[in-house]
Symmetry: C2
Subunit: 346 residues, 2 copies
């Protein structure tokens, strides 16, 4: 017999192929790709994957409804590099320099004099009042749109002094993967930063995939006014609403989110209360619930920086390390847990 | 020839049916159902539908990306009934009565005395200080969870004095449809209320489909503390962060959302600035952009209440009406625009 393909059979095969295509998620079960390729296969990585499996397992004892899958991430030192100085402080310093020609008196007035003379050593010695003066000229007295534009332009034209890349490129590849992995599993990812809420909102979506409404940060009041032509505008002031650090982190999360996170990520003493808040009650039932608390430990001077208890920036005190061990929080070793640190290494 | 169905043909038909099923959204194009069935066919309804069509038309001149489709709704008088007294004020009054046995001094101390003696007429005459005293005992000094439970219990056991339904049933069916219609078109719907953020968050998801993180309201600081057994908790205080009314509405939207709404809905002078903010700049390009501003006018004494310029609650001043007309905001007549007011009428 001659082997022929009957037209109606050809049609059936075509249709079958189409159905197979539509039904592929059920029929084909390829090994899932590693969701965290930049993480070494350590107990920390296994712990993250185990946590996500537990809270997403429908009907399981640790299942958490998607609406309550809130994950909060500190930024400085947790999502991007905070050394040798906080990026936003560098922005403020550069802003003072840019505005100096309009303010000749700054040449002889502290703290502006120190900044204009490039006296970097004195920066960490600034008092709160010194910082407030610098913040007032760099972060207030303008509309929220104007501030947005100034920050955008600065980010586009400034490099990290060691890595010679934009600050927004000096972000941690493993953390980007972790955020994406959580979002793919129904989590809402929030940034909860001691940095300025309006500052971080400028680039959070583009850099981290976090929309403006999911950025919790230090915030001052804005003032509603009518500008030229009577258009409504919001002017940034120095009247602080939220200092989003230490206890201010859970307080800020309540203000902006109104839910308790089930996963929280930080790297310093400023994140202690946020992680405690995520871990929750000492009540037996809640305490047994699956929660993920993680601290990034900067121990990789070769690829990034090594600092901890003695650092003024991103202090990781012995008390915090003790609490992390006692409460079984994951302490991530950048050296041992991360294959890659920055996206530009790849 | 005998008419038979060949097995492989039967399989082909079965497969074809399956494919047709999968492909049905492309093949079948039924007339879309009316998204606003409780609205009469007035120019206001047509205007809402036109606005949504314009901002969602990919490639059109008024297209707005889904991430920027922010719609903000006042609550009292816009989403639910605010007469004869704000629901949250009734809650505070009832809370004072419930706590009175533990506070024998209240029998002789104002403003508690007036509340306990049922002197309703004096309520609108309370000073700010009087309200602060009542708020302090009803809204502060407890954990956010305890407050949540107290409000839940009160809502479950209290009726509106005229409609004899739970307060959460005295919501406006046409506004529920409008919120659902906007969400179906990629909008994020926010409640922006002069009422307490923590109060409204208790029921916003269940009643309006608005999750806690999309409730902007008047808010006081919370204080992070360790309770018994050392568990972290947030205590409500009276230290106000945001009075979310008048200019406080755009300021609160910036704090919590960080984006300018493209649609805003209110009913009183307290919503004026929010609507101006949504309408945006006098800049020609922005001013021509599609924006939707709407005020509910309570002119239906038969089915709900009729009040406006002279009302202490939900004041709709002549100045606001003039501004609405001048700026071409939609003024909704409850009598003429709404077929149904409450869900329980249906």
């Amino acid at each position: 017999m001659k082997s022929t393909v009957h037209p109606s059979h050809a049609g059936a095969y075509f249709l079958f192929a189409l159905v197979a295509l539509f039904a592929s998620p059920v029929r084909a079960q390829p090994t899932p790709a590693d969701p965290l390729p930049s993480w070494n296969n350590t107990p920390r990585k296994a712990g993250i994957i185990d946590f996500v499996a537990r809270v997403t397992k429908q009907g399981g004892p640790d299942f958490v409804a998607p609406a309550d899958r809130i994950a909060t991430f500190d930024q400085d030192g947790t999502l991007w590099c905070e050394q040798p100085i906080y990026t936003q402080v560098q922005f403020a310093v550069d802003r003072v320099k840019a505005l100096a020609p309009e303010h000749p008196d700054w040449k002889t007035t502290q703290p502006f004099k120190a900044i204009l003379e490039g006296d970097k050593a004195s920066l960490p010695e600034f008092s709160i009042q010194d910082f407030a003066k610098v913040a007032a000229v760099s972060h207030a007295g303008m509309t929220v749109q104007d501030f947005d534009h100034v920050v955008q332009k600065w980010l586009a034209t400034t490099e990290h002094p060691r890595f010679h890349r934009p600050y927004t490129a000096c972000i941690y590849q493993p953390m980007l993967e972790l955020m994406a992995y959580l979002r793919a599993n129904g989590f809402k990812t929030y940034i909860v930063t001691g940095g300025g809420q309006d500052f971080v909102r400028v680039y959070a979506n583009q850099v981290y995939g976090v929309p403006k409404e999911q950025v919790v940060g230090s915030a001052a009041k804005t003032k509603y006014e009518y500008g030229k032509d009577g258009q409504p505008q919001l002017i940034k002031t120095m009247d602080m609403i939220l200092v989003d650090d230490h206890a201010g982190k859970p307080e800020g999360i309540h203000l902006i989110v109104g839910k308790r996170p089930i996963a929280a990520f930080g790297n310093s003493t400023g994140d202690q209360q946020m992680l405690e808040f995520a871990q929750g009650s000492a009540d037996a039932k809640v305490a047994k619930a699956a929660r993920l608390m993680m601290l990034v430990h900067h121990d990789d001077a070769m690829r990034e920086y090594a600092y901890g208890a003695d650092s003024k920036i991103g202090t990781f005190s012995k008390a915090l390390m003790d609490e992390a061990n006692e409460r079984k929080w994951f302490v991530i070793s950048m050296k041992d847990d991360w294959k890659v640190i920055f996206p530009f290494e790849k």
